[in-house]
Symmetry: C2
Subunit: 286 residues, 2 copies
Amino acid sequence: MNAAQKLGFSANSKLLIIHADDAGLSHSENRATMQVLENGFVNSYSIMVPCPWFYEMAQYAKNNPRHDCGIHLTLTCEWENYKFGPVLPISEVPSLVDSNGHFYKKREQLRENASPEHVQKELKAQIDKALQFGLKPTHIDSHMYSVGSDTQFFKIYKELGKEYDLPVLLNKQLMELVGLPPAENIDAEDFIIDKTYVGEFKYFEAGKLSDFYSAVLNDLQSGLNLLLIHPAFDDNEMQGVTVNHPNFGAAWRQIDFDFFTNKENQLILEENNIELITWKDINNRI
Amino acid sequence: MNAAQKLGFSANSKLLIIHADDAGLSHSENRATMQVLENGFVNSYSIMVPCPWFYEMAQYAKNNPRHDCGIHLTLTCEWENYKFGPVLPISEVPSLVDSNGHFYKKREQLRENASPEHVQKELKAQIDKALQFGLKPTHIDSHMYSVGSDTQFFKIYKELGKEYDLPVLLNKQLMELVGLPPAENIDAEDFIIDKTYVGEFKYFEAGKLSDFYSAVLNDLQSGLNLLLIHPAFDDNEMQGVTVNHPNFGAAWRQIDFDFFTNKENQLILEENNIELITWKDINNRI
């Protein structure tokens, strides 16, 4: 039984969430996210609570509850010059940060250094801060899927979903991508996204990222699908954020923005009988 | 005896520091600050340690020790959507923040709410964080001159200068601007800048900000003068930071950038026998 059937759809329904990650990261990311939601065909997004532009995006989320909005739980900061760290005082979660008090750049550093206790405290604090700001989150997911860097972190992530009664992004491909064996970390009652799509650097490098997105939409299989994108503008701010990091860099994010605000691309959904679905819909049905 | 004489210059020397405030505030501010130092005729700046782009500017400062670089001690965040707060955990300095954990927008709120103990701890932590990052500050000054909102805060500010052996921006006009009586708050041994210039909203509003800067340079009086500017670009990021706040807003900051990178304006210095001087020079002579 695929996830679409579990939600009460027919087995051959092609369900899709088009999801913007990384809201709150920067003003550029926020502006682009608002525009793809309003003028494009993106129908869900999630916010990074520890980031400098969280407040702006949180205000938007409160004023626009019609849009699905999750919490993009954050334990890593992959950027060279633009740094952020835990919402909790560093003294409470010292194993999550480098010598400057910032999150580690890589999942591997997180796995090697972070204590499960600190991961649990910090992730809970991020959700609590979002709630305190008046957000009504529709789901939780994970920046760089770094919760998948360790079995214990992953368990904490799943438990937080239960504790706050929120659907959690679980997907075998993402787990495999970050090296977490799905068989040992998925329980029978877990609600799993059938298939997740995210751009890869080889497509970006070859100038084929838009082609990849077209192919995802044209070749979408039945079941519950999730397409993760990162819309922002290739402007000075975003070039500063992503300096020396072309993977998910400013130029990549501009392509995401352009593709998902293009009306011609939106037509591909209809041509292929793709139904957009939100995390809110999922939560109402599971 | 004017401050120029105290530094060993003749009484009729026209000394000037052209100082960029607010480095670290944003990527736009950082880029513009680096450019006015390298390609313009700005010769000193100070960094806001609690701000999101502190790290980028701190790296620059470490790699470019030839430029005067102070610490722009920060106790307020005047922006609507772009928020920051103390470097210390909020639980250690609760009187410095609003219900969201951010600095107050106005000096008056700071005066009404902040305890001197918390002001002292936070300002010290900002200096310590800068030192820990490897900065070798040449001076300390104060964002929005908010240390002048209260006699006790001002005393703390002056004491920090002594404790860290750093010159402190003291000036009667700035004190009057923020409502602190100079007579009661200046001691005989304090080293005082003779005259400080900063743009006013009436000039900006009337399109006369550049004229103001020209007049400052053309009419400069003898003694030690300080011109405070806020260079940044009128780009998307800075428009987001300063939204609904045209006073020292993005368009204003672009004018500052343009004026102080214009070679024709630089010639006014020579025409008027103005000598540029840094805080490092001052510290070597007092």
